[in-house]
């Protein structure tokens, strides 16, 4: 079985979770005996082998473009011209609308089924379609969903979203969650706790892009309330984004001063070290198709307060392996934070159960096996179709 993945992100070019997803799933598929090609953007047309994965780097900067959507279409054209000569492809697997144009053309070129993983929708990301560009992207998402043989989504929330927003029939949608790297289960910190908090301080951590949908402002507001009840707490905010200045100002206005530490972007090793040393992780996203960052905290065995919206509701059971809270209610977040930080037994139990959840169903080898089953079933159907 030879599968061609099309993704605009692939390490070292990483923007969000999509690149990591493609990296891990393709490497695990290779272990299952699948021949995997990945086409992604690069700075020159070249080909490399990455632990058995054939990576086709396509120069995405051959022409000048005025905006993002034009750039996306331009590198899709370059992908098609570079890849159309490949032979023996059984399936084309597209990740989000960003490679949908190339995926659709190559589907018809090779007459093979198209599998689409929809990680998020434009409607969901923007809270509606408020611009011409958003409508354009939404229409491409619709076309991708229409052309796909099967659509993979990462959560029940996303399954409902693609069904309601893109009008996809239920039997076309398959839910396969994201996963975490198994090595995280045995992670040993490479950075000292003392870099982030004093020995007597309880360490609370938020990490992610500093954008409204991730809810970092709610964490700061909740932390301000928590600080009035517990003096020995410290908040570390890891990540960067357009909200950073606003958040720094907010922390100052609330009089949090040295109790909040903004690290900016850090390496994965440093990020996981801080989580490892923390007493509580708070990730109150307002829009979260899956919530891979929640899963990472769980893999590290940390008590977690996450959002009661979207993907995390699939794998977090309230007060069993984590806590689900309303991201727009800092009082609720502060209430649960105080409960966990004051009760060591509860924190330990939440962390242990969280780790157990990850081990049983959310590692990439498990996810890849489920994806492989989708491939197999699709190819069996393809054989029976006169196309």
């Amino acid at each position: 079985m030879r599968v061609l993945h099309l993704s605009w992100e692939y390490p070292p070019h990483i923007v969000g979770g999509l690149g990591r997803h493609v990296y891990h799933i393709t490497h695990e598929l290779v272990k299952l005996g699948v021949s995997v090609d990945v086409a992604t953007i690069g700075y020159e047309d070249s080909h490399i082998s990455d632990d058995g994965v054939n990576v086709h780097l396509v120069d995405a900067f051959k022409v000048r473009v005025p905006d993002f959507s034009s750039w996306v279409h331009s590198f899709n054209i370059f992908m098609v011209t570079e890849l159309s000569h490949i032979s023996g492809i059984d399936l084309v697997h597209v990740h989000d609308w960003l490679t949908a144009p190339a995926g659709i053309v190559l589907k018809h070129r090779f007459k093979v089924p198209l599998i689409a993983t929809i990680h998020a929708t434009e409607y969901g990301r923007r809270g509606g379609l408020h611009s011409l560009e958003s409508r354009h992207i939404h229409e491409w998402e619709w076309l991708l969903a229409y052309e796909a043989w099967k659509i993979i989504v990462c959560s029940s929330f996303m399954a409902n979203e693609v069904k309601s927003i893109l009008g996809v029939p239920s039997d076309k949608v398959i839910m396969i969650p994201n996963g975490v790297d198994k090595s995280l289960l045995n992670f040993k910190p490479k950075y000292e706790r003392s870099n982030y908090a004093l020995p007597w301080e309880l360490l609370v951590v938020f990490y992610g892009r500093l954008v409204y949908e991730k809810g970092p402002d709610s964490v700061i507001r909740a932390f301000a309330k928590l600080l009035t009840r517990l003096g020995n707490v410290k908040l570390v905010i890891i990540g960067d984004g357009p909200m950073r200045e606003h958040l720094v100002n907010l922390a100052n206005q609330l009089g949090l001063g040295s109790k909040v530490y903004f690290t900016g972007r850090v390496s994965d090793d440093e990020l996981y070290s801080v989580i490892y040393h923390s007493n509580l992780v708070i990730l109150p996203s307002r829009y979260e198709p899956f919530g891979i960052s929640s899963l990472e905290a769980m893999a590290l065995g940390k008590p977690l307060i996450t959002t009661n919206r979207g993907g995390p509701t699939d794998f977090v059971r309230h007060m069993d392996n984590g806590i689900l809270a309303n991201p727009d209610n800092p009082d609720e977040i502060a209430y649960y934070a105080e409960m966990v930080l004051k009760d060591e037994g509860l924190a330990k139990r939440l962390g242990e159960r969280a780790r157990e959840t990850v081990t049983k169903g959310y590692t990439w080898d498990i996810i890849a096996r489920k994806t492989y089953e989708v491939y197999k079933a699709t190819l069996e159907e393809r054989v029976r179709v006169n196309w």
């Binding site: 905006d67 034009s70 054209i77 098609v80 011209t81 000569h85 354009h136």
Partner: protein, 192 residues
């Protein structure tokens, strides 16, 4: 000879004729009159009547909204190519493309469509962005000029119907274009 053409535009009954539509209509008619089998592929779901023995195939564009003309040009080409396979029969000896939009479609067709893989690709240029717009000061025009340069360089032959266009193709894009002022002569040169 079997010839397939790609263009953004083809004349429509009741609407004013543009320069590009005139060029496409007259060149395809001449090629037909010279005895060639001519099929034209254009975006849009409506197939115009068979005026002069030229088969015109409209390929529906499912995407309706585009942020700008560059996005339209790049995106519509992919939509046409994705679905043309089911509307075109047989193989073609020659691809003729009109302007950068048609040229993108032709290039993609040559890369992906079994009917076009063995064809040579020829582009007819009415004007370059340097004649129509201001690539030095306008981001859209600058982008179109950049795409024109890239796409024309991929063609086996480039033909200009004006001397100024041929000069721009050579000086701005480093593309060696043949200047052919008469459409009848252009038909003969392309189908030679």
């Amino acid at each position: 000879m079997r010839i397939i053409g790609f263009s953004w535009e083809y004349p429509r009954i009741g609407s004013q004729l543009t320069d590009l539509q005139y060029l496409v209509l007259s060149l395809s008619s001449i090629l037909r009159a010279l005895g060639h089998d001519v099929t034209l592929v254009v975006p849009g779901g409506v197939n115009p009547p068979d005026y002069s023995g030229v088969k015109v195939v409209g390929i529906n564009l499912p995407i309706r909204d585009y942020p700008n003309v560059v996005s339209y040009g790049l995106s519509s080409s992919m939509q046409v190519i994705a679905n043309m396979r089911y509307s075109i029969n047989g193989e073609f000896n020659r691809i003729i493309c009109f302007e950068w939009g048609g040229c993108l479609m032709g290039l993609l067709a040559k890369s992906t469509q079994p009917c076009c893989m063995g064809s040579s690709i020829n582009c007819v240029v009415l004007s370059t962005e340097y004649e129509r717009g201001d690539p030095g000061n306008n981001i859209i025009a600058s982008s179109i000029a950049s795409i024109e340069g890239w796409v024309f360089r991929q063609c086996d032959g480039v033909y200009a119907v004006r001397q100024g266009t041929a000069d721009n193709l050579r000086n701005r894009y480093n593309v060696k274009a043949t200047y052919v002022p008469l459409i009848e002569e252009l038909g003969k040169v392309i189908a030679k």
